[in-house]
Symmetry: C2
Subunit: 387 residues, 2 copies
C-alpha cells in the first residue's frame, strides 16, 4: 500500500500552474510565421504592456529569465562600457558574472545577505562619477535567494538623476509587488514565465524603454539568439527572430487573460496578504527570518532559519516526504542553513494554512521547543480574516 500524498509546490519558481494554463500548452502547433500567430503575439504584447504598466516595447524571448538578463547586458552596452551592479544575493552575483563575461568595467556595491540596496549609497557612488562613465546600473527588484525586496522606485530615481540606464531583474518580483515601469522610469525590465505569470519556465518577457533602444542601436557586444535589437525589430510585426516556444506562448496568453481578469490590484493584494500571513506565522512559532525588516520583505518568498539545533534540510525533507510539500533550499552560502517558503503565483490561502499546520507538526516531531500546534495557523487566520 502506498500512502496517498498530493503535491504542493511552495518554491519561488517554477510555481504551480492553473489547469487552464497547463492545458493551453496542449493546443495544436501552428506556424510561427502565420497571420494568426502574429495576431496572437500582438494581442499578447498589448496585454503584457498593461500588466507592466508601460508603453515601452515588450519582447518575449524563448529562454528562462537568465537569458533575459544576458540579453540586457549583451544588447545595451558596448566594449569597455562601465556599469554598476548593486548586489544583495545570489542573483545579484549573476549580474556581476554577466557583466564580467562581456568585459564590462564592473563596479560592485555588495550587501550582506538579508539586506536591501541602500539607494543613498547608490546615489553617493554615482555622484562620484562626474564624467558619466557609468552607462547602466543593474539590480534585482526581488532577490529570490534572500527574500529581500529592493526599493525599485527610489533606486530608479537616483539612477535616472545620474543618467545611467536602469536595468531591473524583476523575474521573481513582478506582480508579487508593485512595479510601475513607466512612472518609475525603468529602462530594461526582465520578467520570467515561471513566477507570478503562473506558467512553466522557458520565456523571458522584457520591457525596453526608448532610452535603452538608443543604446541597443549602437551596442557592439556579440549576441545573436539573445539580441534585443533583433527581438524588438521582429516584435513590432508580432514576430520573433528565431522559432519561439509556441506552446509556452499559448500558455502565456491563457495566463495573461486570467491575470487581466483578476486585475493587478487584486494580484498585488493577495501576494501582500500571503506574505504577511507566512511571516506572522513563522514568528509566532519562534523562528527567525533571514530578513526581519517587513518593509523590505519579499512578497514572493520568505527565507527562514530553522530553530536552533534543527537542520533546515531535515525539515524540508520531512515536509516533502510526510506531506508532499516542496520548500526551497538556501542558495550559495545559505545552502542548508535556511529554508524558503514560496508564496508566489498560483498559491492560495488554503495552501498556506495547510503548509503552516504541517510545519508545526514537523517542527515539534523534530523536537523544536515551544511549538504549540495551531499557533502558527492562528497567525495566518488572523491575517487572512483581517479586513
Amino acid at each position: 500500500m502506498k500512502k496517498y500524498v498530493s503535491e504542493l509546490l511552495l518554491i519561488p519558481g517554477p510555481t504551480p500552474v492553473p489547469t487552464e494554463v497547463a492545458l493551453a500548452a496542449a493546443q495544436n502547433m501552428m506556424s510561427h510565421r502565420s497571420g494568426p500567430f502574429k495576431k496572437l503575439m500582438l494581442d499578447l504584447t498589448a496585454k503584457l504592456q498593461k500588466l507592466l504598466q508601460t508603453q515601452n516595447d515588450v519582447v518575449i524571448l524563448s529562454s528562462s529569465g537568465t537569458g533575459g538578463m544576458e540579453a540586457a547586458v549583451a544588447s545595451c552596452f558596448s566594449q569597455g562600457d562601465k556599469v554598476l551592479v548593486a548586489a544583495i544575493g545570489n542573483f545579484g552575483k549573476r549580474w556581476i558574472k554577466l557583466a564580467k563575461v562581456y568585459g564590462l568595467a564592473t563596479e560592485v556595491l555588495e550587501y550582506d545577505y538579508g539586506q536591501a540596496v541602500d539607494p543613498s549609497a547608490v546615489k553617493a557612488l554615482l555622484a562620484k562619477d562626474t564624467e558619466k562613465k557609468i552607462k547602466g546600473v543593474f539590480f534585482q527588484m526581488n532577490e529570490t535567494s534572500t527574500a529581500v525586496l529592493n526599493d525599485v522606485e527610489e533606486l530608479a530615481k537616483v539612477i535616472r538623476a545620474h543618467g545611467a540606464l536602469v536595468i531591473v531583474d524583476a523575474i521573481s518580483g513582478f506582480m508579487a509587488s508593485e512595479l510601475k515601469v513607466d512612472d518609475w522610469g525603468l529602462d530594461v525590465v526582465i520578467t520570467g514565465s515561471q513566477k507570478a505569470y503562473m506558467l512553466p519556465p522557458g520565456l523571458a518577457i522584457v520591457a525596453v524603454s526608448e532610452k535603452a533602444k538608443k543604446a541597443i542601436e549602437t551596442s557592439d557586444l556579440p549576441k545573436f539568439y539573445l539580441s534585443l535589437q533583433a527581438a524588438l525589430k521582429q516584435g513590432a510585426e508580432g514576430q520573433t527572430p528565431y522559432t519561439p516556444a509556441v506552446s509556452l506562448i499559448y500558455q502565456l496568453a491563457a495566463a495573461v487573460d486570467l491575470l487581466t481578469d483578476e486585475g493587478l490590484e487584486s494580484i498585488l493584494a493577495r501576494h501582500e496578504r500571503l506574505t504577511k500571513a507566512v511571516r506572522s506565522a513563522l514568528r509566532s512559532l519562534g523562528l527567525k527570518l533571514l530578513n526581519e525588516n517587513d518593509r523590505t520583505a519579499s512578497r514572493a518568498v520568505t527565507a527562514v532559519y530553522p530553530p536552533p539545533g534543527l537542520s533546515a534540510d531535515e525539515i524540508r525533507k520531512r515536509m516533502k516526504n510526510d506531506f508532499g510539500i516542496t520548500l526551497a533550499n538556501g542558495q550559495d552560502e545559505l545552502k542548508g542553513k535556511i529554508f524558503r517558503i514560496g508564496h508566489l503565483g498560483y498559491v492560495d490561502p488554503k495552501d498556506v494554512l495547510a503548509a503552516i499546520a504541517c510545519l508545526e507538526i514537523i517542527l515539534s516531531q523534530l523536537g523544536a521547543p515551544g511549538i504549540q500546534w495551531g499557533k502558527g495557523v492562528q497567525a495566518v487566520q488572523d491575517v487572512l480574516a483581517r479586513k
Copy 2:
C-alpha cells in the same frame, strides 16, 4: 454557418505533436533542483544518447535550435580562431552570421540553392590549410530552406582527416535520415525539439564529443546562458545551470519514449517512404522540384516550384483556406517563389495522401494544365504499397 476544417500542419517545424506528448506538458511543475527531476534528466539523457547513436555527452538547452547553434560557436572557439562554413541555404547563412558575430575569421564555401555541399571541395579547401589554422567546420545535415540533405558521413570524414571540429546543425535532419554521431565522428551535433522529436519548439538537444570538450575548456568567447561548458558540468549531475523549460522536458521524455518504442529503423523508414511518396506525386503532376537529385533529397521537407504562371503563395493560401493544410513558404530569395511540404515528425501516410489530393484540386482550380485528379495520389499509393 462556419465551414468545419481541421488543421494539418505540413511545415518543417513546428511539427504536429501527438496527444500523449501534448498532454505531458500539463503535468504538475516540480522543483528543477529536486532528486526526481535529476533522475528524469539522467534517464532522458541516456535515451537521447541511444537515439543519437552516441556515447558523447548530451545536454539540453532551453532555447530553440538557433540557441544551440550559437552555443556551439561561442563555446568551442576562441578569439581570432579561423573556421569554415559550408553553406547551402538560409540556415547555412546563419552559421556565417554567428561566426562573424563572435569575430571568428570565417571562410565560406557557398552553394547555389538546391545544391548539396561537395565533400571534395571541402577536402581541397582544407588541404590548403597546411598550418591547421581552421579549427572547425560548420554545415547543415539538412538545409530546411532548400530541402537538401548533405552527406554528413563523407563531410565528417574529410574534416576529421584535417583535424578541425565537425559541427553539424542536425536540427531538421535528425531522425528524418540516418545520423551516426559516433561512427561518423561528429563533434558537436545540434538538434531541436520541434522537428522529428514531435514536440513544441523551445529545446535544443546538443551532443558534444570529447574532442569538442577540450576546445570548450579553453574557449574565451563571451557566453553565459548558452555556455556548453556550464551545461556539460551541470548535465553530468542531471542538472541545468539555469532554470530549464520543465514542461518541455516532460514532453521530450514522453516523445523519446514513443520514439524509442518505435525504434530508429522504423522512424527512418517512414521518413524515407513519405519523402519518396511526396516527390513522386509532385513529379507525376508535372511540378519541378528545387532539388531534383533524389540522393540529396531532404527526408524532412520537399521544396517545389509552382506550375509556370501560378503563384506559390496563392497555392499555399488556398490549401490553407479550403483544406486547413499549412504549407511552408520559401525563405530569403526563395520567398514566394517556391512552396515547401513538410513530412517530418508526427506525419502519417494518410496526411500525405490527403494533402496531395487537395493539392491536385487547388492546382486544377488555379488553371494548371494537365492536372489529372488522382494521378498524384496514385503515385503516393504506389510508393506506400510497395514492399
